[in-house]
């Protein structure tokens, strides 16, 4: 097992050099959410009702925006091919990609959630649940988008294909996350939805890295 450290350092360094890769999705998230109150009107109750769905749809789309380029450069310049030839480091490479993807697209959404709560008039109990769903849900978004990116890496214009491929996988997450937030806003128990999200996350965590490695191998052969 190759150590993860140097690989993660490389990914973070690349993110620091290619700021558009992670700034664009984050800005997209903020822009969409700030446009909603303008579009549907600033009525506080209406905003509170639509908030769960809107927040999560914006999160899904912004993560999708970051997904396409994940493996593109490394595929084009032969890094993926040469890592596949040497086999051993592939798992560390994939895990570093996953972690860097979450740190650059998932974590900013979590950090921005207070601002989002303010924009959409989310009250305190719902805000805490929103934070929890984002903490549990964004790693799952990263896992699925890395999988989609690995599957479509050799497709020239893989953007639409990628969206078609992974948006259906996002839907269970969308349903349970917004259901948890709605339940919380009505002061109902929401632990069931969170538990399902945690189960989905753990399931994906166990299987996705293996699937990504296979997808990369198929794409270079």
């Amino acid at each position: 097992m190759v150590t993860l450290g140097p690989f993660l350092k490389r990914e973070l360094r690349l993110l620091a050099r290619q700021k558009a890769d992670w700034l664009n999705p984050v800005l997209f998230f903020i822009i969409v959410l700030s446009l909603f109150p303008l579009g549907v009107g600033p009525e506080p109750n209406l905003l509170r009702i639509i908030a769960p769905g809107v927040i999560w749809i914006a999160a899904l789309l912004s993560v999708l925006l970051a997904a396409e380029r994940l493996f593109k450069d490394d595929y084009r310049n032969g890094v993926v091919e040469q890592l596949v030839a040497s086999r051993q480091p592939l798992l560390s490479f994939v895990l570093a990609k996953l972690l860097a993807n979450w740190l650059s697209t998932g974590l900013p959404l979590v950090l921005l959630s207070p601002l989002v709560a303010l924009l959409l008039n989310v009250d305190m109990p719902s805000f805490i649940v929103m934070l929890l769903t984002l903490l549990l849900g964004t790693p799952l978004l990263s896992l699925l988008s890395v999988l989609g990116a690995a599957l479509t890496v050799s497709a020239d214009k893989g953007g639409i294909l990628l969206a078609l491929l992974i948006l259906p996988l996002y839907i269970p997450l969308l349903i349970f996350a917004s259901a948890a937030m709605e339940a919380a806003s009505m002061a109902l128990p929401y632990h069931g939805q969170l538990a399902v999200m945690l189960a989905m996350l753990l399931f994906a965590l166990a299987l996705v890295p293996v699937a990504v490695i296979s997808a990369l191998k198929i794409n270079v052969s």
Partner: protein, 232 residues
């Protein structure tokens, strides 16, 4: 950990004194009756070859004859349509991890990220080869890249990028090197240095499979050539 000793002669880069896993003269890699079909075109069929430790195999042939495809088969990146590949007399599919650990494949693409500097790219490949981090300034200087260590690789010329890419061979512990067009974009002095380094690797018991359109200027004892004909 295998020791790496610098040689006093400053013209020569560091040389690795290390016993490879397969002794000199023994069969390292054997291909039996390989066939490769790409887009309904048979590139080659019934191709058999052997590589012993200490040998250099040059794959020659016209553009499109299937040289790169053959190299990718030998590197285990693609499966042959027919035939099989043996590493130390065992099917490569059974000993895939051992084979991959003893192999250094540098393909058509350089394997370096343009946004990273030469040092950062080498640090990545060191980590990928499970080697401890080391100071690569001296290595880059021997490769004629002194002063360019901290510049993102997209600012370097094609030949300089190729040098960064090949620098990996200098710290590789793999016995078998599979190199697709290693001399592309290199100038005469770099080609001479690289060939000198190939000779060292072969004398240490390593083996090399490469494709090139340039004739090899050095005299190698264990040089074999496979010529692939272009077929319709």
């Amino acid at each position: 950990m295998r020791a790496i000793f610098p040689i006093v002669d400053s013209q020569r880069p560091v040389i690795k004194h290390q016993p490879f896993s397969v002794p000199v003269g023994q069969l390292l890699l054997q291909a039996q009756l390989l066939s490769c079909i790409r887009q309904d075109r048979v590139l080659f069929e019934q191709l058999s070859l052997q590589v012993h430790a200490g040998e250099l195999l040059q794959v020659a042939g016209k553009n499109g004859a299937g040289k790169s495809s053959l190299l990718r088969l030998l590197a285990g990146l693609a499966a042959p349509d027919e035939g099989q590949l043996l590493y130390c007399q065992q099917p490569v599919t059974d000993v895939a991890t051992d084979y991959a650990a003893n192999l250094c494949y540098i393909g058509h693409q350089s394997g370096i990220h343009e946004q990273l500097t030469a040092l950062e790219n080498l640090a990545f490949w060191r980590a990928a080869a499970e080697l401890p981090p080391a100071d690569d300034f001296a290595l880059l200087a021997t490769l004629g890249l002194a002063g360019l260590e901290d510049i993102p690789c997209h600012m370097l010329s094609a030949g300089q990028q190729r040098r960064v890419s090949l620098a990996r061979l200098w710290f590789s512990h793999s016995q078998l090197w599979i190199l697709d067009e290693p001399f592309t974009a290199l100038d005469q002095s770099a080609i001479a240095m690289l060939q000198q380094f190939f000779l060292q690797h072969l004398t240490c018991g390593g083996a090399i499979i490469l494709t090139t359109h340039q004739p090899l200027s050095m005299v190698y004892d264990g040089l074999n050539t496979v010529e692939l004909a272009y077929r319709w």
